[in-house]
Amino acid sequence: MQERKYLYTAEEKFIIWLDGFESLTYRQKSGILSLFPSAADFVREDGERRAQLLRIVPEETLRGMLDTLKKAEYLPTLLSNLAQKGIFCVTIRSADYPESLRAIPAPPLLLYCRGDRSLLKGDKFAVVGSRRTLSWAQALAQSFAADLSSHFTVVTGVAEGGDIAAVKGALAAAKERGEARSRLICVLAHGLDHVYPAAHADILREVSARGLVVTEHRPDVSPQKFLFPVRNRIIAGLVRGVLVVSGGLRSGTSITANYALEYGRDVFAFPYNPGIPSGAGCNALLKNGAAPADCLQDILSWYGLEEKQAAMPALNEEERKVMRVVCERGETHIEDIFRDTGIPVYRLSGILSGLEVKGLVARAGGNRYAAVGIYSDDAESKELLPD
């Protein structure tokens, strides 16, 4: 990768330098930062400074830290190592550090980023889901993320299931609109040297090329279980609202939603049928006052936005018949569709895969199909209208 030069102010360099110490905890780093409103204060040589610092960090650590200041090449090496990896840093004292994130308790002091820096500005909206997400919910999350990305920057993770569906949706939407960049931010729970899950390496590379990848961890930090819930506060902190597409009662998405509630963000959730474990968390959120979202307009009208009316794909008579059955029955086995419509199964499988291509149904496994989103049958509603 070609090394790019990133210019940092003295304040920013100070935080990058500070974050480079593995042994310091978040509390210690933020303590040091609050002691020294400006980096110049820190460099000042006096006894008072030392006494203050010793209250935060042990003497040995402090000596190590101060030693690095004496080495002329220490900081430039640190910065060029990051730059070599295409990583730029946005610190809590940078001008474009997102205000909404700055306002949360324990905001990340430093964001290691790769991609399009300008995405940090502007309105953001999170689409999150658990790793176990039913196929219809994935398809729906994908289409929501696609449409939301024309109004907001979509923020999510890269886990399997709901998150990656949102990523795919936002990437595809940008391609469809012919835009070089995607309004998409992926927040990772580990350093940028790693990819988790490894299967998503390609897609993550695409995000850093066309969107933005953000983490609060140094590049070498490997993925660990306990880092993921901590990461979720950044997702909730960045955005105006969160759409929860799936999640059990105790899942990572419910942590994100709880952060969002705590920070006063808007929380939306897909409504689920009772008894679906991967949707129990969503329903619990709805009970606690989250807004149900089963069509995009539910979210957009909340913000006074107008949906660009996408025309329902033109369907023929048989396709409409099938859609009606699938919508009425929910997750439906292909042989039940046959019983209701009388269309032979081999034709049905063709019709259903055509509808799948059009994004109206999703396979639910075991030859069952579920409708994606709300299907409005124009022809039918016209029939019902009195003359």
Partner: protein, 510 residues
């Protein structure tokens, strides 16, 4: 005195003439067998000695040398026993006749002189006939195998004495009557694995029909106990009837392996289901005693069913790729290389995930996405690419199981399959391609023109499911078969859509 007798050896599926020579000389009594015999051939000495004595003749008490010519060919098995015994009788002048000329003798001897059946009689007889031999003596137990070959005289002897008496003309045997293939077919009992016994499963039945019609390979994905095996078992019953030539070719392979059934010829297409612990050698052919046909050759003309596909050893599965393309397998060993036909329909079964419940309505799946990916990753992409149809098989409800509704029988489905095959035969006349699945790029361009609408659907699917170029070609081939089944010259949008629905693994992006 020197004597010689004709016999036959097997090299793969080809019979090779072997001349057994014996020289009985004065000298200290000894017995030397030369001409690259394997252990079983060397042991023939004891069998031959006892058989000769117990048949009322005497074993020469001289310096005996037996040679199996051509000497550079490795000889295996027990089929030379009879020829060696006769040769010794001739060389020791107990059998004084020139009538052994023009005969080919095959058979294993028991200690009491009885003739026991040997493997590979059919391919040896066919090769021998083609080389101009017309008269044969074979063990009685092999007679049923010999009865379908016209233009030869085959005598079935029960023991050594009968053979000798036949040659000397004391008690001539009656040649085995020639039997027609139709007669063998007539004996056929009803296939216990008929599609009419498969309840429900409309999707899988349809996929099966399409697969057989176009010679496509099939993957059945479903939780344990949903009827994957039952469906697969029914595949031979919907395949086109065997012609005599096909039956003969298949029986030749099974004859080498020593199983030709009660009729002496296979009247049904083979269905082979090797266990997933099968080694690569047992699958493709090989083994320590010469090169035996493997499961894929025994499945030639029929179905190779691999249940629990991800459990097979990766190397074993990868070895299937080349025969799947070529229809033959060449097994090379230090002792020589042999080519066996291996043109089979591959049907594989697997669970959707390690716990088996993914997509099941009642039981929750407890697998993590990573586990599922690993499980599916055990089947390599190139192999999956050769399986045109992937279909889910799901549990059948109690009502379906108990309903009196008569399901469509194999015979009805076979009718449609035969028709679709006929269309394909006419389409590919004059080329090496026989079925839609064998089409290459040139044929696809020629015979599978897509209308603008079809192309639009395919393009949308291509982008939506991020399909590979290979997957696209497979979809078009399957669509061609679906169109053939619908008597349609053009590939219609509905055909393309249906073909897309049979690529479930591509669509999931895994």
């Amino acid at each position: 005195m020197i004597a010689s007798i004709s016999s036959f050896a097997l090299n793969g599926l080809d019979g090779v003439p072997v001349t057994v020579e014996a020289d009985v000389n004065k000298g200290l009594p000894s017995y030397e067998l030369v001409g690259l015999p394997d252990a079983a051939v060397k042991e023939s000495r004891e069998r031959v000695r006892s058989a000769i004595k117990n048949s009322g003749y005497s074993f020469p008490v001289h310096k005996v040398t037996v040679n199996l010519a051509p000497a550079e060919l490795k000889k295996e098995g027990t089929a030379f026993d009879l020829a060696v015994a006769l040769c010794l009788l001739k060389a020791s002048e107990q059998l004084v006749t020139r009538d052994t000329d023009g005969y080919v003798f095959l058979g294993e001897l028991g200690l009491n002189g009885d003739l026991r059946p040997v493997n590979g009689i059919l391919p040896m007889l066919i090769s021998a006939r083609d080389k101009g031999y017309v008269r044969f003596v074979v063990p009685d137990g092999n007679a049923r195998e010999a009865q379908y070959i016209a233009g030869v005289e085959v005598f079935a002897a029960k023991n050594l004495r009968e053979t000798v008496e036949h040659i000397t003309g004391e008690k001539p045997l009656v040649p085995v009557p020639v039997r027609s293939f139709a007669a063998a077919r007539h004996e056929e009992t009803e296939d216990p694995y008929d599609l009419k016994y498969v309840r429900g499963q409309a999707m899988a039945r349809r996929a099966l029909e399409v697969a057989v019609s176009g010679g496509h390979n099939l993957l059945l994905v479903g939780p344990p106990g949903t009827g994957k095996t039952m469906l697969a078992r029914a595949i031979p019953s919907v395949m086109p009837d065997l012609t005599f030539d096909e039956a003969l070719e298949i029986t030749k392979i099974h004859s080498v392996a020593g199983d030709v059934g009660t009729e002496g010829i296979l009247t049904r297409r083979p269905f082979r289901t090797p266990h997933h612990t099968a080694t690569t050698a047992s699958m493709c052919g090989g083994g320590s005693h010469g090169v035996r046909p493997g499961e894929i050759s025994l499945a030639h003309g029929g179905v190779l069913f691999l249940d629990e596909l991800p459990e097979y050893k990766r190397a074993t599965l990868e070895a299937l790729r080349q025969p799947l393309e070529d229809g033959v397998i060449t097994v090379s060993r230090a002792t020589g290389s042999v080519t066996y036909p291996a043109s089979f329909m591959l049907c594989a079964g697997m669970n959707p995930c390690p716990c088996g419940n993914l997509g099941s309505k009642d039981k929750p799946c407890t697998c993590t996405p990573a586990q599922i990916r690993r499980y599916r990753g055990r089947i390599s992409g190139p192999l999956l690419d050769r399986i045109d149809l992937q279909v889910e098989v799901d549990g059948v409800g109690y009502d379906d199981l108990t309903s009196d509704r008569e399901e469509e029988s194999s015979a009805v489905v076979r009718e449609r399959v035969n028709h679709a095959r006929k269309i394909q035969r006419e389409r590919f006349r004059g080329t090496s391609v026989r079925t839609n699945s064998e089409m290459r790029e040139a044929e696809i361009r020629k015979f599978c023109r897509l209308s603008a609408e079809c192309d639009g659907i395919l393009r949308a699917a291509f982008e939506k499911f991020s399909l590979s170029a290979r997957a696209r070609a497979r979809i078009i081939k399957v669509a061609r078969t679906i169109a053939d089944l619908a008597y349609s010259e053009e590939i219609a949008p509905a055909h393309i859509c249906e073909a897309i629905s049979y690529r479930m693994y591509d669509k999931n992006g895994s």
